[in-house]
Amino acid sequence: MRECTSGAASVILNSDEMSLKGTRGKSVDEQRMLSLAREGEVAAFEALIEGYEDKIYSLAFRMLGNSEDARDAAQETLLKAYSGLQRFRGDASFSTWIYRIAKNVCLDILRRRSKQRTYSLDEPMELGDGEVSRQFAGDMPAPEDVVMHGEVRDSINSALAEISEHHRVVIILRDIEGFTYEEIANILEIELGTVKSRLYRARASLHEILSEMELFRDRAVGQSEGGDDG
């Protein structure tokens, strides 16, 4: 069963744009795979989500900032997709649908986390001999350590954690995952104009934070002008 479904799945999933988009473009194989997965066939579902595990994990990792939560979120997303496949009618693309679940799962985790962590990050802590700034042992390395070690990737994660979750998810979907504005609007269920404004604010805030980390110091600034590369 596994061999057979994997073979069929490679036909479906190798095209990057996911031919699962909309009912019109669906092949017989796709329909069969979906209906098998809807009936609970695990191998068919695995074939459907092939390639998505990494993408969803990646999104969750950027959103949540650590591998443990990212793993849980990816797991929860895929389980929810499996049990909710009956409700997927093909109005949106499979990709949009599954990313929407992932987004909701990540936001839920962040909400739960914010309930648990009630201190303000800037709030001074009372110690025996005076006040000190609160320091958190987290998954994010301190910015100076990061830059010193040249770990740009980690400092980006750290910067992402500083912007609001609504801005974060937009910039991840656009600049890391490469979705179009329309796809982002569908995933997040927001207006196209909101996507544009959030993306701008996210990019501007992130630039400010990364500049403070001196991440752009070696980069040429202001060399080119205009937006002809879009």
């Binding site: 740009v152 701008y200 752009f216």
Partner: protein, 354 residues
């Protein structure tokens, strides 16, 4: 630099960078950029941010992820019968067919099932619940002699009350752990408690030394279950007269605590063999507990629980009546048809004889 700040919409610059603008918007941005150094810098900063993010390598799931996911999916599939299997439509509808059949058979089952006397059903389900544990030749509760003739003892004590976990533990000293467990299961069944875990310790001779059961019950029925368990111990203990006064005081304190903490839903019951016990506890010993519970200070709620089986029986009868009533038009029609045929035949015969 002519512009130090500029209120040109940033989202337009950002969208321009991604080529997500209309022709006219694009022309507007280009026109503005020629004139505004500040916005040229803003655009460059947006581009830098976009570029640095595009260099971020994508993450891959940990190596064990897919294996774990598959295990979870399979477990999920098992838990959700609606998702199960790829059988034909008819096969998938089997559970529904079974449910309908069950519904139709309920009245019949109700009519033929064992009907106990009022007040008796508390331990009635003993046979069914204890079938895994009780010895094959164990006498049935219904027929057991309620005379308190054995030397067995059952003591109970509250081990601990864990407010955080909303659970508490009760230990019962019994002569026969197996019988005690069966009685507990029967009691649990009365209040629809679910046995969440059950651990048993056996000695070298294969004799059950100890058992620990974690029961989950609705917070409404918790007090009933708890009181039932405690009474299983106290009644027997009073009979062997081991420090009854002190024990009762302890119990009443615990009862008060239980009333306060009526939100609990988990009860852990540990049963262990009491070395001082001389003879084996018999099932009629448990029956004694049941009888005394009913006759003495049987709580009203427990009576309700016991009466529930009568309610169920009543419902079955009512359902059977309704089921027959619904078919009365057919019965009347068939009867009329039969009567008509007989009448016609006899009329025909009379005509012939005439």
């Amino acid at each position: 630099m002519r512009h130090t700040t500029c209120d040109f919409p940033g989202e337009l610059l950002s969208a321009y960078l991604d080529n997500e603008v209309t022709e006219s918007e694009s022309a507007r941005v280009r026109g503005h950029l020629q004139d505004c150094a500040h916005c040229r810098r803003r655009l460059e900063q947006l581009r830098e941010t976009r570029e640095i993010l595009s260099e971020v390598p994508s993450q891959s799931v940990p190596s064990s992820f897919r294996r774990q996911l598959r295990a979870d999916l399979l477990r999920h599939k098992e838990d959700k019968p609606g998702l199960r299997g790829s059988g034909s439509g008819w096969l998938r509808r089997m559970p529904m067919v079974a449910a309908v059949l069950l519904l139709l058979l309920l009245p019949v089952a109700g009519l033929y099932s064992h009907v106990s006397a009022p007040g008796e059903p508390l331990m009635m389900s003993m046979r069914a619940v204890g079938e895994d544990d009780a010895p094959a030749d164990a006498p049935q509760l219904e027929s057991a002699d309620p005379e308190p003739e054995t030397d067995a003892q059952m003591l109970s004590e509250v081990l601990r009350v864990d407010e955080a976990e909303r659970s508490e533990s009760i230990i019962l000293h019994v002569a026969d752990v197996q019988e005690g467990t069966a009685a507990l299961a029967a009691l649990a069944d009365t209040v629809d408690a679910e046995v969440q875990s059950h651990e048993q310790v056996w000695d070298a001779d294969g004799y059950l030394k100890e058992s620990e059961s974690l029961l989950q019950v609705d917070s409404d029925s918790y007090a009933i279950l708890r009181e039932g368990v405690l009474r299983m111990g106290t009644l027997a203990r009073q009979r062997v007269e081991a420090d009854p006064v002190v024990h009762r005081d302890e119990m009443s304190r615990e009862f008060a605590a239980a009333e306060e903490a009526d939100q609990r839903t988990h009860l852990r019951v540990v049963m262990m063999v009491d070395d001082e016990t001389i003879s084996d506890v018999q099932l009629d010993e448990l029956c004694l507990v049941r009888t005394q519970l009913e006759e003495t200070t049987f709580p009203a709620q427990l009576r309700e629980a016991a009466a529930r089986s009568w309610t169920v029986f009543g419902a079955h009868v009512a359902y059977a009546v309704l089921w027959i009533a619904a078919r009365i038009p057919h019965l009347i029609f068939v009867s009329l048809l039969v009567v008509t045929v007989i009448f016609a035949l006899s009329a025909h015969r009379r005509k012939d004889s005439a």
